[in-house]
Symmetry: C2
Subunit: 438 residues, 2 copies
């Protein structure tokens, strides 16, 4: 048992070190709940609401989420849905009153059934589910509470009013604590997440040539092979990216990420990154097979050179793009790297065109080499597409031009710093930030 506790403590420590914002978040939740329960302790405040003050505590527990976007989304959903549900509930109670003491419960039951069934069905609409799912649930809840209570309590309007006010108080407390104390912006997370994934692909490609031909460029790089696994985290990111983009839309502008920031382009960049990661997944399966050498020596070295050139130049281009997103400054050297990789791809094509194989060469021997060549060319195409997408992003989000990147505004470096606080995977090395315009 002691072992198990020690293990859990270790896990907790790791969770805290991986992302210290988790510890801060826990304290923020404690603070917000303690603050809102003050309503119960101060007599004048308590007398205004009575037991209904409990709804404020309940709201804080339910609404307070890790990021500002999620808290704002839930809070707004909850307040608006309570308002609407309360109004309709009062209306339903008023209509039911006309049907006499015996008819009232029947009419209300019919209303409740219709509203609950309809709104539950509306929750299946993909667009509603993505943004208003919680609101629709709270709407059913408030409508049922208000209209059903109306049967026993006469002060339905007072009850609806108290519920709306206490829920608004709870939501506001959550929001204030969430935004004022070390806010976690999910938009910034998405921003860094997309850049990090690009950087991971870039690191893989930069190291691929050396790894494929078993060249150790220097002693130290040989020991750390984590860059070969990093791309895997980019394979299954679709759902989490879509979720982040949905939440980011709720966030107000902050730093350089404005309200109505083009989040859709991040999703597009994410999709292209995944396409590229699939190619890299295929490339990585060739890493541990022996490299075949059916070609004569001099052709062999040229082919080797082109492979290395393509992978390192596309890798550099992707890392440049990642750092361009992170610093929100256009990079001037991306196009050069892409042009280099395209030139190397052309060279490779011309090398394959010359019939230089010796007679009776085992054709199957060149299959792996040919596959790698074709995958590398696909990677060049992917990189071009990603570059075009980042370019769109740069113009829509007003990235700095490469000329005036020395007058970076303070918001920039803050953004960069925050990004490095939260590595998506725990195995990342130190950030290798490339100076823009190098």
């Amino acid at each position: 048992i002691i072992n198990k506790i020690a293990e859990k403590a270790k896990e907790a420590k790791k969770l805290g070190i991986d992302d210290p914002r988790r510890i801060i978040h826990s304290f923020k939740v404690g603070l917000a709940i303690t603050l809102v329960s003050l309503f119960y302790y101060f007599k004048p405040l308590y007398e205004g609401f009575g037991v209904s003050a409990m709804w404020a505590v309940l709201t804080v527990v339910v609404v307070f989420e890790f990021s500002v976007g999620a808290t704002l989304g839930k809070g707004l959903n909850r307040v608006c849905a309570t308002l609407l549900g309360g109004l309709l509930g009062v209306g339903a109670h008023w209509l039911a009153c006309y049907s006499g003491k015996n008819g009232e419960p029947v009419v209300i039951a019919v209303f409740v059934f219709i509203v609950a069934a309809t709104v539950t069905f509306v929750r299946f609409f993909p667009k509603m589910k993505a943004r208003y799912d919680y609101g629709l649930m709270v709407f059913i809840l408030t409508f049922c509470l208000v209209s059903v209570s109306g049967y026993r309590e006469d002060e339905v309007i007072r009850m609806a009013h108290e519920r709306v006010v206490t829920i608004a108080i709870g939501s506001c407390t959550s929001l204030l604590v969430c935004i004022l104390i070390c806010p976690v912006w999910i938009g910034e997370d998405l921003h860094n997440h997309v850049a990090d994934n690009l950087e991971k692909l870039g690191k893989f490609l930069e190291g691929f040539g050396g790894e494929y031909f078993k060249i150790s460029n220097d002693g130290q790089s040989n020991t750390d092979k984590s860059f070969l696994q990093g791309y895997k985290s980019a394979l299954n990111t679709k759902n989490s990216e879509e979720n982040m983009a949905n939440l980011a839309r709720w966030e107000p502008g902050h730093g350089r990420l404005k309200f109505r920031h083009p989040w859709k382009l991040y999703l597009k960049a994410g999709t292209l990154t995944r396409d590229c990661a699939y190619k890299i997944e295929a490339l990585s399966s060739h890493l541990n097979s022996d490299y075949p050498t059916p070609w004569p020596e001099e052709i062999q070295s040229k082919i080797q050179e082109s492979y290395t050139m393509i992978s390192s130049e596309t890798g550099k281009a992707l890392k440049e793009l990642a750092s361009a997103i992170k610093t929100m400054a256009r990079s001037s050297s991306v196009n050069t790297h892409i042009a280099n990789s395209k030139a190397a791809a052309e060279t490779l094509k011309s090398l394959f065109k010359i019939s230089v194989l010796e007679e009776d060469t085992d054709l199957l021997e060149i299959v792996p080499a040919a596959t790698v060549a074709s995958l590398l060319m696909d990677v060049v195409t992917c990189t071009e597409k990603i570059a075009a997408c980042v370019n769109d992003l740069a113009s829509q989000a007003n990235f700095n031009s490469p000329n005036n990147n020395n007058n970076m505004i303070p918001g920039n470096s803050r953004l960069l710093h925050r990004g490095s606080v939260q590595p998506i995977s725990g195995t990342e090395g130190p950030h290798h930030v490339i100076t823009i315009g190098e």
Copy 2:
């Protein structure tokens, strides 16, 4: 505006037709809420609980989910967490009473802060998040409600007791309605989802040969190309499968899916299916390029034959495996298909080994063909792995042996039927169920 309403109505109709269980679910929610609000109308029931009866309505709205697994998970989480939170809340109130009227709010505030912050941090543990996230939230909620109310109300124990009982009533109502009226078992969904994805990959591979060599086997198959896109839905399934497996663990045994069914093997099969889908994604990018023919006529036709053989045999094997999962009966012909595809792969290797190219052949011309060959061989390996995994599943879940598949128990065909009610993507053709043991 009228156009927009018509559009929404169309969308709603499509949602209902795609999966009629959605409509049934909406009615079930309406029914459960109406049932539980009866507590308010019948005087004897109302007098037992008073306004607390509202918690039962609230619980139904919050706990009632689409599938039995999700409802059970939330309901059990809610009841257990309320019980524990209520007990601890009463304990905290009792301790705080010793510190006098002035010290009481301070002591309670400290307790609330500590509990809220600690439990919020525990929610970050991945294992806790997957299964007990909702329970942890309800625990904070109940603890705060009970301990804070204790300051103004003296009957804390009565309040905690009422809360536990009403929440248990709400959860039981939800569960009964959820299970007794057309239950939706998420385990069955996962079961069919994994089989459907395998079938989609199988359909692609079966059709790949003909499509690649632009052969139209018969007139009708040429018009419907949807089988070429089906595999795409298998690429991004990791999160949804993990979620389904988590929920399925809550479900009691039903039909042939027992409690403690080996859900982990479904996740493993899903991972292998995705790996295979990545290869197919790479294959599909070769579909629209021209097929190069640098080989002499007779070799060409042999190569073409091997390609078609590999893809159609792996395709048949995958479809067999899919139908074996769906009907829960071992298939006897899977091994034959895999053996055929391996033999064809060997033939292909031997064809590539003979140096049959004419002098000055453009080597680049064979690159696409070589890539496709290598991908097809990868697919053979993937298929073998998937077959091994399904075999594990067959022994752990006691699939029928191929001999006695004619005495299929009724549960079987019911399972098959339910599966076809809910196509994961809307574009699926009619199910092509292969008779086991053919």
